[in-house]
């Protein structure tokens, strides 16, 4: 019996070896995952959910949704976001109202945790796929997210 087991083991070993080699051969033939980045620049499409850079979408009328509430600034763990506000006279009510002046975002200290976007009550900020952040000086990493002369988007009036 022992002799039969011995021979069985050898045959089984060879079979297992061939199974393993089949798997590695499949990997050998498979298309390769390496991206040759500077050569295929512009042809690299990262996953659309990749957090490359914080952006504030603007409408065609140069309007954004940010009410300058400051929740993102408070939620940010390392002070990446700085919000400057200004007072502006509201035409409808005739009262002074706090509006966004400057939304400063520092890529250099951002850890891409997405606490700002998840906590934003109005969906004013999202992530873009741009990942080419390299710059020669630190001030170039600071970025103003709201465009010049942009204003708050008017709330859609719904008849209810």
């Amino acid at each position: 019996m022992k002799m039969i087991d011995y021979i069985k083991n050898i045959a089984l070993g060879i079979w297992r070896l061939m199974q393993g080699m089949y798997v590695t051969l499949l990997n050998f033939i498979r298309s390769k995952v390496t991206e040759q980045y500077p050569e295929n620049r512009g042809k690299v499409f990262p996953h659309e959910r990749m957090r490359g850079q914080l952006v504030m979408p603007h409408s065609e009328a140069n309007q954004h949704k940010c009410t300058a509430c400051g929740i993102c600034e408070m939620n940010c763990p390392n002070g990446t976001i700085q919000i400057a506000t200004k007072k502006e006279l509201d035409e409808e009510t005739g009262k002074e109202k706090k509006v966004l002046d400057k939304y400063i975002y520092d890529v250099g200290s951002c850890i891409f945790c997405a606490l700002c976007t998840t906590s934003c009550p109005h969906g004013a900020i999202t992530w873009s796929n741009n990942f080419e952040h390299a710059a020669f000086t630190r001030p170039k990493l600071y970025e103003q997210l709201n465009q010049e002369g942009s204003s708050l988007m008017k709330k859609q009036k719904t008849n209810s």
Partner: protein, 355 residues
Amino acid sequence: MFHFNVVTDWIDEFLHTYLLDGWALFIEFVLIGLILLTAYAVLALILIYVERKICAFFQCRLGPTRVGPLGLFQSVADMIKILLKELIKINKVDPLLFRLAAFLVIIASICTFGAIPFDKGLHVIDFNIGVFYLLAISSLGVVGILLAGWSSNNKYTMIGAMRSGAQLISYELSCGLSLMTIIMLSGTMQLSVIVEQQDYAWNIFRGGIPAVIAFVIYLIAGHAETNRGPFDLPEAESELTAGYHTEYSGIQFGFFYLAEYLNMFIIAAIATTLFLGGWMPLHVPGWESFNEVMNYIPPVLWFFGKTFFCVFLALWVRWTMPRLRIDQLLNLEWKILMPLSLLNIIFMALWIIYW
């Protein structure tokens, strides 16, 4: 079929018409030495490139792509780097043995390399105990490895060298025994005659089942002798940093590196010569037109094609199997491979008598 002996005979005659016999011989010796060393270095560079590419492909990477087209000059750049590196002096080493070890390893490798028949005329030494010579001289490398481990004054190198000694000496046995079955089949140890015999059927077809078993055993044992793949215990990076060549630097390390890669080639070349017909093209008895077409491919290409196929097999196994433990390694040799190859010799004898 174009054989290289036309060229070598022409050079021989040319030298003899203009020079005395002694001088002609001397010049031939120098030429052979130069060509051999150059071929050795160039082959090592090609092998390093091929190995890196194939390893990368097995891991779904691309491998070297930056230096030159497709990274072709990567290994040349590596060679220049290793030649320019400093030879670090290690404290309390045995200086003579430490330096001698690298030379012993590479001398054993070059001497084996010289005896391989690349083509009809491309054969440095062809004598009646060729296979015996190959086995004897290639196992000289063990001495170099043991000396390297012993003289480095480092426990890792010591353990690596001891493992290497146990491994190489054990696997030498089944290596020799599986070559013995083929020598029984061909009835000679002269490499050129063995290759000529395989004109119409390579030994692996001529010898039937025992030859196939011997081929597989030889591949496994030879693979273990090159210290690579699942049998890379002597230089297991995760356990022993780099094994027996931990303390070496610069060109001395380069010698070990070259010898390692060339040993892979040499094992594949011996397998090619003895089992796969050496430089003989694939001939099928009866198919005359097919044989004619096969004859148009030069024998050197046939030799290198088959050899690189064997090298590819070795790399394939290397990236399939995890590293063995030392007791598993010795069990595989003494309990499985050696009994099998002894049985295989008897099987081969019966095959020769009754077939």
